[in-house]
């Protein structure tokens, strides 16, 4: 029921009494950083014309705005000299570990989603959403295949006057490695471990779609709904997001450079190999 804080010598993150991440403190300055999961219900179209297609493998088309998963998150806190973690349970099918390693200046989110319940006959598309106080004025950035960052503006296209009929999916873009936003004071970057859809639907907030389960084919391909199963249940997906948050200041290395190095490390990780050494003593091995 009380606030919980984990951290290291660079940063601290706090969780409010409902169990949600709420603030991040760096160099003694505390900023709002909230994270939660929401979901969109998949639209069910008659597939007769383009504008009336169901949400499916080729299309993201929500039916209305997001739904919240819970108002209360259960927490379990683990603190130690190497890593501090908060194990969050949002629901039976959404959990997450928020961790801060002793020598890292980013926050790691290991999310796990599924089996997505569809007893109500409604497909669902699960999103992890981050909120900050940054006045980003509708501007955000998404990467192009892990390289150049493309400038995106909500409800806008650079080369024509767009009139978005789909206010949510019309603002979604492919995010292969990173999505970011900033204002003159703050910058938030979220690195992902696999290609996901992402957007910034309100100033200061970023979201990435982590898992989907849909029940109707979208008539664009193989006449099969995107409803992946494993062992007879809906597929469980587990993955990571890495959050780099900080003051927007002309330091060297710049925040973007730090994100770049982190991106290389997490997307081109070390290969791990294991060997059973049996009766070999350490001294012999050394």
């Amino acid at each position: 029921s009380q606030e919980v804080t984990i951290g290291n010598k660079y940063l601290n993150v706090s969780f409010d009494s409902n169990g949600f991440l709420s603030t991040i403190t760096i160099d003694g300055v505390t900023n709002r950083l909230r994270q939660t999961f929401v979901y969109y219900e998949g639209a069910l179209g008659n597939n007769e014309e383009f504008r009336n297609r169901s949400s499916g493998a080729y299309i993201f088309r929500p039916n209305g705005t997001e739904k919240t998963v819970t108002e209360n998150v259960q927490l379990k806190v683990v603190k130690g000299g190497t890593v501090q973690e908060v194990h969050q349970v949002f629901s039976e099918w959404i959990s997450q570990v928020v961790r801060v390693y002793a020598d890292e200046s980013h926050v790691e989110f290991e999310w796990m989603v599924g089996p997505i319940p569809v007893e109500d006959g409604v497909g669902k598309e699960i999103v992890s959403r981050f909120y900050t106080a940054a006045q980003s004025s509708g501007v955000f950035w998404t990467d192009a295949n892990g390289r150049e960052m493309m400038r995106r503006v909500r409800n806008h296209r650079d080369t024509w006057n767009v009139d978005l009929e789909e206010k949510i999916s019309g603002n979604y873009y492919p995010v292969t490695a990173k999505i970011a936003l900033e204002d003159e004071n703050l910058r938030l970057a979220v690195l992902n471990d696999r290609a996901q859809g992402g957007s910034s639907l309100e100033d200061g907030s970023l979201e990435l779609m982590v898992h989907r389960r849909l029940l109707h084919d979208d008539a664009f391909g193989v006449e099969e709904a995107l409803n992946e199963k494993a062992f007879g249940q809906g597929l469980v997906a587990r993955g990571k997001h890495w959050v780099v948050f900080g003051a927007k200041k002309p330091t060297s290395p710049t925040p973007e450079a730090r994100e770049r190095f982190l991106q290389n490390r997490v997307l081109l990780p070390n290969w791990l190999f294991f060997s059973d050494v049996g009766e070999v003593k350490y001294e012999d091995w050394q």
Binding site: S95, A102, R238, N270, F273, F274, S275, V277, Y282, D284
Partner: protein
């Protein structure tokens, strides 16, 4: 070469936009996963051979190490680290600059000593695996915790090994060592059967 060709062929098939975006039928997606899994496992032989060439123990023939991979670390499962009392972890750094990584190894509890090649003990921490991961019905793992330690000064395009030993803290630990898993009675036969099926999948 035949192992590498298997991976080349799999990656050739995966150029199709279906393989990248997941717009194929479910059974095709499963076949893509099967193809990739089979090819990556086959190339385990190549990485083993390469590491045994550059790893200094090759001049002591009985020490050619196996260099196994654990492909299910993302769901905190690794047969070798869960069952062995002493093992080595070798990290190969594919980047052109020195790196570091917090290593997380699924274990069945207890205390471990992690040493690098200079006999320097590396501080480590045992962290419980989240209950929601333990509840995953098809994980088939005895691990309840993860051993976490910092592997640093990983040389560019190079490797570094750590020697991990389960510490027998006290006679009490020794006397109450986790009993070897008994042969599964009939009731667990289904579990063993599922495990075998799961391995195949």
């Amino acid at each position: 070469e035949p192992h590498l060709n298997m991976l080349r062929e799999a990656m050739g098939v995966m150029q199709h936009h279906d393989a990248i975006t997941g717009t194929e039928k479910q059974h095709v997606a499963n076949d893509y996963a099967r193809m990739l899994n089979r090819a990556v496992r086959a190339c385990g032989a190549n990485t083993k051979a390469a590491l045994n060439q550059i790893h200094p123990t090759t001049d002591i023939p009985q020490y050619t190490f196996a260099f196994e991979s654990c492909h299910l670390l993302n769901v905190s499962k690794c047969e070798l680290t869960e069952t062995k009392d002493s093992f080595t972890v070798t990290l190969y750094n594919p980047l052109a600059h020195a790196g570091h990584e917090y290593v997380r190894l699924p274990v069945t509890g207890g205390r471990y000593i992690v040493r690098d090649y200079r006999n320097v003990e590396v501080s480590s921490q045992i962290v419980p695996i989240p209950q929601s991961v333990l509840n995953l019905s098809y994980r088939f793992s005895n691990a309840t915790s993860e051993l976490v330690f910092l592997a640093n000064e990983l040389p560019p395009l190079g490797f570094k090994s750590y020697f991990v030993t389960r510490a027998i803290d006290s006679l009490d630990d020794f006397l109450h060592e986790a009993p070897a898993p008994a042969s599964p009675p009939a009731a667990d036969q289904t579990l063993a059967k599922q495990q075998e099926t799961a391995q195949w999948h």
